[in-house]
């Protein structure tokens, strides 16, 4: 059974949603306090949404110096599956595990709404079980979600199939409609929308399931030598 570590920073607030979502898909989850440095008992790591360290300075700016982040970096470089959702995505960019940065939304408003995403690459732990071009309705909930990067980085993301999800109707001014990207190996993914909040049609959408199922199956695969 896949064991998922859900990292909790002071100010995280989506850790229970993330844990319940992966539990619902048959994995086990454990909350991991940010001072932890031993991640050896987990098959996959999720950095959940929220306001790590109050989002002081910039979202993710202080969280990247939490003790757990060195271990997350090693976990990722060993090929482990790492997923950053919303604030978790911001932490991954600040930590340099994903390129670019998340800026304030174009309209300077906090956005909390369902968005339609298009799966634009299957070469990542988050999208391997989805269909290319598949549309998914998943909510966003952020103030700083406008993905920004320089031209060289953008060209590299495009050329290497690393833009995994795009907005159909760009809500925040993200470059290239980017909602989520992967690292070069595809084992580290960050996205602003919340797949863990799209787990049941009763609550509006269960389109997050295919993404988290991909993530869990990929983390099992990475265990196989």
């Amino acid at each position: 059974m896949t064991r998922v570590g859900v990292v909790v920073f002071p100010g995280s607030n989506c850790e229970y949603d993330a844990a319940l979502a992966v539990n619902a898909l048959g994995a086990t989850s454990e909350l991991v306090w940010h001072s932890t440095t031993d991640l050896s008992s987990y098959d996959a790591i999720i950095l959940p949404g929220g306001f790590a360290h109050g989002d002081y300075l910039r979202p993710g700016a202080l969280a990247r110096f939490s003790p757990v982040m060195d271990s997350v970096g090693r976990f990722a470089s060993d090929g482990g599956a790492v997923l950053g959702i919303c604030n978790g995505f911001q932490v991954l960019t600040e930590a340099g595990l994903l390129p670019g940065a998340l800026q304030k939304n174009r309209g300077l408003t906090f956005l909390c709404q369902p968005t339609t995403l298009t799966v634009s690459s299957l070469a990542s732990v988050l999208t391997s079980r989805a269909r290319l071009g598949q549309e998914l309705v998943i909510p966003i909930n952020h103030f700083s979600g406008s993905y920004t990067c320089d031209d060289a980085t953008y060209q590299e993301l495009v050329a290497n199939d690393r833009i995994v999800l795009t907005y159909k109707d760009n809500p925040n001014g993200s470059r290239g409609d980017i909602a989520g990207i992967a690292n070069e190996r595809g084992n580290v993914v960050g996205l602003m929308p919340h797949p863990e909040r799209a787990m049941s049609t009763l609550l509006g959408s269960d389109d997050g399931r295919v993404l988290l199922e991909s993530f869990l199956s990929a983390s099992m695969a990475s265990l196989t030598p």
Partner: protein, 86 residues
Amino acid sequence: MNYSVIVDVTLREGIADPEGATIERALPALGFSGVSEVKAGKSFRMTIDADSENDALDRATSLAERLLSNPVIEDATARLSGVRAS
């Protein structure tokens, strides 16, 4: 010596600045005309116990690049605003 240092963090050239643009658009309505190129940013003030002015500025620049700014989208500059004996 104790050096008072100010670090200014501004968005890099070419990075969208919706805050600055919004402030600029609001100014004519308040009767301020002829104001353009408004940029929003942050400033940090600190006291650094250092051996020399250059040492203080070097350390401020280093901590500004490591923590106070995100080099992907921001520039940081450190300047001296005062000095007093430790």
